[in-house]
Symmetry: C2
Subunit: 710 residues, 2 copies
């Protein structure tokens, strides 16, 4: 790669213009997309991928690669041309297929490490917070595995953020924690162009961004996109500076290279249009030559003729490929030799490391490729905690059982660890200069917690958990959604799960949250009723490692008789198989014949159903069934015959009890279904009083349903 | 009120200790609560309510009162004793009933202006952002109504925030906008005690808060809770300083006045315990005397005896009132005379204003007491937009119709006004020094937008709207929840409502959002199918003014034949009555007899149902009914006989079509219900392609249901 400071400004400019061309024409073909950022940041992108980043497109998962996170994800047409140019598995045809169904080039970058896409971005601020998480991963891996002479982990995380990212509170939260932790392996570049969608940013965003980041403990420097020589030096300096995360504020011009639309909000999110593209081509020596080679000098010199050429290209886009530019490809792919050498050297270092530190090497292998330890599998399968306890307490115990066998499990809470019980006991917090700990003090920053957790999970070495009161799920939802969208293995532990929270009142009592979570695709929500279901929820997460799991735990105790219940005669293995169907018969009155009523629900309402069952049996002498539904999503997905069996095909009343809002289409329910749920906000009073107020006692449930009984 | 700088430190201290006592004993009685903040900030609280704030407990809704917002809402036991002390309608008995069902003193303050509780707080950062909104209201009212010699509106907003509030991204967002707007009528006081729930804040929060706020354009000063003389002067100076919002960083000691638990996280959120309370009483001259008066000198001097006295008091709490302290009451209520005079003077000024500016006075009256203008009522009732259009476009037109007749309607979007169409045309943005505009450039700050909107709505003068893409509802959910909890009249306009968003892909396509919103109590979600339903949604909001409404609008066009459809023979008045039931028969095949199939849904899926109905009619020659459900919550609440009638009691198949996730208990649905919904994330492709992919075309719907047809 040669000396980094000796950069070839001329060829950077050529390649940057080629990036601009690819962005402009792809967006024009799609008639949809965001050219503003790719045009403004093309030079920076080329500089980064040609001279700064260490990576190897042939080994995209190289664990010590530098990362580039496009936090301003709408600028995806900056990323795709760069990845193509350096040799990732993205082709000109893929870019010509921008924003089409099933393409490798969707509107916003979608997590696909093999392609060089490190995370899904688009919702603003998320990529930046992910980058903070990746930087924490780097620090953790370094401290766990680096040895003298064996710097296995020393990668740098670069992230490109825009005005939008900076305005989002998420970036402030993540930036504040990054500053506290002194993440000097993180370099953020702020694409500062003073334009956002609605116009110039001075109507709403006049803060001193440099001073803000300094206040958060960052080192800040400045650059200009017209001077890559200086930017290159500054990035090199920033990389070497120790002790703080770094921000480079880069003055850019949105839509750089265009005529009328340059420096306007028109170019943020709409195709440039043919006259602007023609202007750009005519004024870019590299692109002008490229077009002249294909179409001749005269048509390219004539703006109208050039526009017609472009119109033809767009019209015939199915057969007309994007123009290739061998000169740029050659220049960009020169990084390959150097990069491959660095990557190869790393592989060799790893081999030596294996010899020198065989134990550590084995542990590293377990980080790089997770497998559930058999001993832990058995412990979870046979877990028992036979005393009355809150499921948050049980969860804390199970979490530590897991943490004991899975060293890559790290995490924390948003300043509520003592309440949610989600902490690795005996471990210190990570802190500036010491990342050996497994606890993260996220602070009262729920959103950053989940998004940093996503960052930690991206490379599939660390397995993060994060935790807060269930009502504050709302503060972190955008990042939970991205965990689901990327199927990241983050475990979310939410305690204080309903009205039983009591005295803290309606702001602290989740009502709509349970079903909001269940609506989210690709995330499984477990609300365990007892000790075994809690352990099985953890088992599900670690066994599948196929995406995020949310565990919803009680603040209040669950009575002792609910603990350790295994459905009739089943082995634990057999029980777990039923558990994976999402629901099972928790209790049934003995004797022959079909139950006259079925009570079902999740979490603490299974206890409630069990209590109501007692009353029904005592007062009516009929058979009752109680069905526990630890995971409604799994029950939805299981074979319908199992559901019919559980609920006896609605031949008799089925009472569904959950202290949560189900306001929706339940007027479509079968006439035998009775819903006992909550459609209003909670109340401030002791938990038992609130439960009485809302009718969540066995006696009140009995009163509601007694008319249905024979 | 005397000269403000001549404050009586001795009596402040006495009253502050009385506040401490009331907090300690109330929390001990409840065995639940947060003593840390009330103890740390009692002196400040007394200073504010005794010397600084202008208010009148006898006219709690006085529109020009100064506001005090306890953003750190867990410290509610600071607020209740202060409100009691100055004469609001909160009694010792109310405080003795702290955190009990139906009390005036719930765990966190709950919006009740008559009691002096200006907003609901608890979820951190919200009160601070509300305060920014209230400050905007103050500026808007001032500019609209103040005249030379008639400063009708010049109130100051004070907010007390803790470490938690400052760590939340929301406070950054709101603080950044406040700085940009130069809200010099806002004074935030930061209760800086370096302790949060999990321990000392230095593990996670080391930023330079003063520098951060300066970066955001604030004026910052410092104080110490042990020196109220200086704090008083500084607050006076800050109040008079012009051009910027102000932050006073106040060093405090959490649990101040206690023995062992002072300056520890133990005292944040748990009762202090009798030994600590006894220590406090023995060491507070005022409280010691109060207890000696009742229990004699010797028992109070003996710590064990005093603990026993306290134990007896707690044990007999039903009959034993909290101690009253005439000396403190007298001191605190001295503010009344001065305050009443200021309030009376204001009333007199208003009378003079009426004479001098009768037109303005009338307009002000309309702000202070909203009534839907009859002309607008008629325009909305008879609205028609007979061309194909997206409902976002129709919404923009209707919004401007409303804005034309309702000058107090103000709002904006999170940098997406051109896309959501939610803007008051012809109005400038509000900006530093000029708040005459009706547009607010919220920036890419969804969370602050909704929370500032809540602040604007609190005093029921302004009627705010806020807007973004529906997928970004997630970023603002915590504030939307509080709007619902407080039943604030904020209108939320969410466009780009489903997979039809198309190319921007899964991050921008809402899936779970529609039903998440519907789960929220006390908020009504309208997803109109056409022009009339859009206008009726606005009409519903302005007619009821009973809480927030969310309007969910399409990005894509709705076909022309869907527009202007009025169900068979109804007048617009009659139609609107049906609309308020949440659903109605949009279309039905002519001829006698019952339909063989019913298709229903909301928004653009009503068009889809209509298209599928055509196919069914053409291919089967049977009767089809299409039911539009603009508001599922209203349909849930209406009489069941109306629902039975709409769906013919499920005698025949009912097909429910919504391009949204309904993952939940739909396996409980009646066997005649067919659900056509979406349980996975969206795709990046042109909207029509995505709709085809997910089967949201008339032909695909037909294929799904044809087996159900006779």
């Amino acid at each position: 790669m040669g000396t980094r400071n000796a950069i070839d400004i001329e060829r950077i400019k050529q390649s940057a213009d080629y990036v601009r061309y690819l962005a402009l024409e792809s967006i024009e073909r799609a008639q949809s997309g965001h050219p503003g950022l790719p045009l403004g940041c093309a030079d920076l992108g080329v500089l980064l991928y040609r001279y700064i980043l260490r990576f190897n497109p042939e080994v995209p998962l190289w664990p010590n690669r530098d990362r580039f996170i496009l936090s301003a994800g709408h600028g995806s047409m900056l990323l795709y041309p760069l990845l193509y140019s350096v040799g990732y598995n993205i082709s000109l045809a893929d870019m010509a297929n921008f924003r089409q169904l099933g393409s490798k080039t969707p509107g916003h970058p979608e997590y696909e490490r093999e392609l060089g896409i490190e995370t899904t971005t688009g919702p603003l601020g998320q990529g930046f917070a992910n980058a903070v998480g990746i930087a924490v991963e780097g620090k953790m891996m370094a401290q766990r595995f680096n040895e003298a002479g064996f710097n296995l982990f020393d990668y740098t995380v670069y992230t490109l953020m825009g005005d939008g990212c900076n305005m989002e509170g998420l970036s402030y939260e993540a930036g504040s924690l990054a500053g506290c932790l002194g993440l000097d392996n993180l370099i953020a570049i702020y694409d500062s162009n003073h334009i956002s969608i609605d116009g110039r940013t001075d109507v709403t965003f006049t803060e001193d961004v440099a001073k803000r980041y300094e206040a958060l403990g960052w080192q800040v420097d400045f650059g200009d996109s017209s001077d890559m020589e200086t930017v290159s030096c500054k990035l090199q300096e920033l990389k070497e500076a120790k002790g703080k995360p770094k921000l480079l504020i880069l003055n850019t011009i949105i839509g750089d290279g265009l005529d009328q639309k340059k420096d306007t909000n028109d170019i943020h999110g709409s195709p440039a249009g043919l006259p602007e593209i023609a202007f750009f081509i005519q004024n870019s020596p590299a692109l002008r030559e490229l077009f002249e080679q294909k179409y001749g000098r005269e048509p390219v010199a004539d703006k109208k003729a050039l526009e017609e050429i472009l119109a033809e290209r767009i019209k015939n886009q199915k057969t007309e490929p994007l123009l290739s530019f061998a000169g740029s490809d050659e220049f960009m792919r020169e990084m390959r030799g150097g990069s491959r050498a660095i990557c190869d050297e790393w592989e060799k270092r790893l081999t030596d490391y294996k010899e020198s530190f065989p134990g550590k090497y084995d542990e590293l292998s377990r980080y790089l490729k997770f497998a559930l330890p058999a001993a832990l599998h058995d412990k979870l399968l046979h877990y028992a905690h036979p005393k009355a306890n809150a499921t948050r307490g049980i969860s804390g115990e199970v979490l530590n059982l897991c943490a004991g066998e899975i060293p890559q499990m790290v995490g924390g809470s948003a300043d509520l660890a003592d309440s949610t019980k989600a902490l690795v006991k005996g471990s210190p917090y990570i802190k500036r200069g010491d990342f050996s700990g497994r606890r993260i003090a996220f602070g009262v920053r729920e959103h950053a917690m989940a998004s940093i957790g996503n960052g930690l999970a991206l490379n599939k070495t660390m397995i993060p958990f994060s935790s807060t009161f269930f009502t504050f799920f709302d503060y972190m939802k955008p990042a939970v959604r991205l965990a689901a969208l990327m199927k990241l293995n983050q475990l979310f532990i939410f305690s204080h799960d309903s009205i039983y929270v009591g005295e803290d009142g309606p702001t602290h009592q989740p009502i709509e949250h349970l079903n909001s979570l269940r609506l989210l695709p690709d995330l499984y929500t477990f609300r365990p009723a007892n000790d075994i279901e809690t352990a099985f929820s953890y088992l599900y997460f670690f066994k599948h490692m196929s995406g995020p799991v949310a565990l919803i735990a009680t603040r209040q105790k669950i009575e002792e008789r609910m603990m350790g219940v295994v459905p009739g005669g089943l082995s634990r293995e057999g029980f777990y198989q039923l558990f994976e169907k999402g629901a099972y018969i928790f209790y049934e009155t003995g004797g022959a014949g079909e139950p006259e009523i079925i009570l079902c629900g999740s979490g603490s309402e299974v206890s409630l159903a069990r209590g109501a069952a007692d009353l029904i049996e005592a007062r009516h002498n009929i058979k009752v069934r109680v069905v526990s539904i630890p995971c409604l999503e799994l029950l939805n997905e299981t074979d319908s015959s199992y559901r019919e069996q559980l609920f006896n095909d609605f031949r008799k009343p089925v009472v569904f009890i959950e202290a949560a809002s189900h306001r929706g289409i339940h007027f479509f329910c079968h006439r035998h279904v009775v819903m006992i749920d909550i459609h209003s906000f909670g109340k401030s009073a002791p938990g038992k009083k609130v439960a009485e107020y809302f009718g969540f006692t066995p006696e009140a449930v009995y009163e509601r349903i007694k008319k249905q009984l024979p």
